[in-house]
């Protein structure tokens, strides 16, 4: 079969186009392969990074968990300490109140004993006992009996309130009535609490060592005072001792003073002769 030169040239021209296309296809394929290689490399890199990040995250999570455990322990410790300190605080507050009460008690006791021993006048001592009973203890009706050594009777030395309703007599024999009984036995009698009307029975002996020198009887507390407190009991105990000493000292001083004045009068008369 014979071919014309134009046909032959046309075939050559197409084969060159084909060759060009094949070459471009090859170049494109090589590009794709290179890109594929690059992506595979990148994928390996990312995989490695992912594994590394997972490790870091695991370590971080573990670290955070440990820190959380520590924080929880610390919180529990602080919570315990907080409660301990809170309890200590309450304890200190309670002790502060107790110390304040003790201070109040000491101030009352000091003032009462100071006043009792600040005079040698029997009347002033009795007034002082009355002031203590009224102002520091809150007794509204009370009586002070002093033992008369000559007759062994209790003689009324002072009172506050209504004497008719409260007191039995100006003089009482030992063992007679509550006051006489307390003087005879030397033991105090305290009621547990005041009644609705404020009446109370507190009767205690004034003792010099074991010797009873008088009796204080409280018949009624002030209306706003419900009952005798611990402080009142301590004050009454103090009164029992110190009032007795003050009373006896002042009486002895008064007797001695009278004798001294008598002797001074006698001496003066003798000197005049």
């Amino acid at each position: 079969m014979s071919q014309r030169p134009e046909d032959i040239l046309k075939v050559f021209s197409k084969s060159e186009e084909l060759l060009d296309m094949i070459q471009r296809g090859r170049a494109f394929t090589e590009e794709l392969m290179a890109e594929n290689e690059r992506l595979r490399y990148r994928m390996v890199q990312l995989e490695a990074e992912r594994v590394s990040a997972d490790e870091i995250h695991k370590r971080e999570a573990e670290k955070l968990r440990l820190e959380a455990d520590l924080a929880k322990q610390r919180l529990e410790f602080l919570d315990r300490r907080f409660h301990e300190i809170e309890n200590e605080n309450k304890d200190f507050a309670q002790r502060y109140i107790e110390v304040e009460e003790q201070n109040e008690s000491l101030a009352n006791l000091y003032v009462a004993s100071y006043s009792l021993h600040s005079t040698l006048d029997p009347h002033e001592v009795i007034d002082c006992i009355k002031e203590i009973l009224l102002n520091l203890i809150g007794a509204e009706e009370f009586a002070l009996y002093v033992l008369d050594e000559d007759t062994s009777e209790l003689a009324l030395a002072g009172y506050e309130g209504d004497p008719v309703s409260a007191l039995h007599a100006d003089r009482l024999a030992l063992g007679e009535g509550l006051e006489g009984l307390v003087a005879a036995n030397g033991e105090a009698i305290f009621a547990l609490g005041a009644s609705d009307t404020g009446e109370v029975c507190a009767c205690f002996p004034l003792k010099l060592k074991e010797q009873v020198v008088g009796v204080i009887a409280i018949y009624k507390l002030l209306a706003h005072k419900r009952q005798l407190t611990d402080l009142d009991h301590r004050l009454l105990e103090l009164l029992a001792g110190h009032a007795a000493t003050a009373l006896v000292s002042s009486r002895l001083y008064a007797q001695t003073d009278r004798k001294l004045k008598t002797w001074e009068g006698v001496m003066s008369l003798l000197r005049e002769r």
């Binding site: 304040e100 201070n103 109040e104 101030a107 009352n108 000091y110 003032v111 009462a112 100071y114 006043s115 002082c128 002031e131 203590i132 009224l134 102002n135 520091l136 203890i137 809150g138 509204e140 002030l222 209306a223 706003h224 005072k225």
Partner: protein, 126 residues
């Protein structure tokens, strides 16, 4: 709180001494800051010659009682000094009369010393 001058009025020397002892525990008050008066008339005389930052007075006193003292301090002396009444008289009539006459506070005997200091420091801070 600077130095304050107080007047304690009571016919009972024992109670006056107790009040003085308790009040000197307050900051800024020493024994020399407290003047004592044995009754209302004595207190009135002292108030005419000098000023006080606070007056504490009993009710039942000879010569001039505490209620009358409060009345005269407010009406005659025109003095607005805070006055605290401390009395064994807890009846409503006494309390009402005391407050009506111009007292700032009415406390009852036997008194709680911490409560007294609380009231006094409150009035002095006003």
């Amino acid at each position: 709180m600077g130095r304050k001058s107080l007047l304690v009025v009571d016919d009972s020397a024992t109670f006056r001494q107790l009040l003085c002892m308790s009040l000197t525990r307050l900051e800024g008050i020493s024994q020399s800051d407290i003047t004592q008066a044995c009754d209302g008339a004595d207190a009135l005389r002292k108030m005419q010659t000098r000023d006080f930052d606070l007056v504490l007075t009993d009710v039942m006193m000879p010569n001039l009682n505490g209620l009358e003292l409060v009345h005269r301090v407010r009406s005659e002396l025109q003095n607005k000094v805070p006055i605290v009444i401390i009395s064994t008289k807890g009846e409503e009539a006494y309390v009402e009369q005391g407050m009506k006459n111009g007292a700032n506070c009415y406390l009852l005997k036997p008194i709680s010393l911490p409560r007294l200091r609380e009231v006094v420091s409150g009035l002095l801070a006003m």
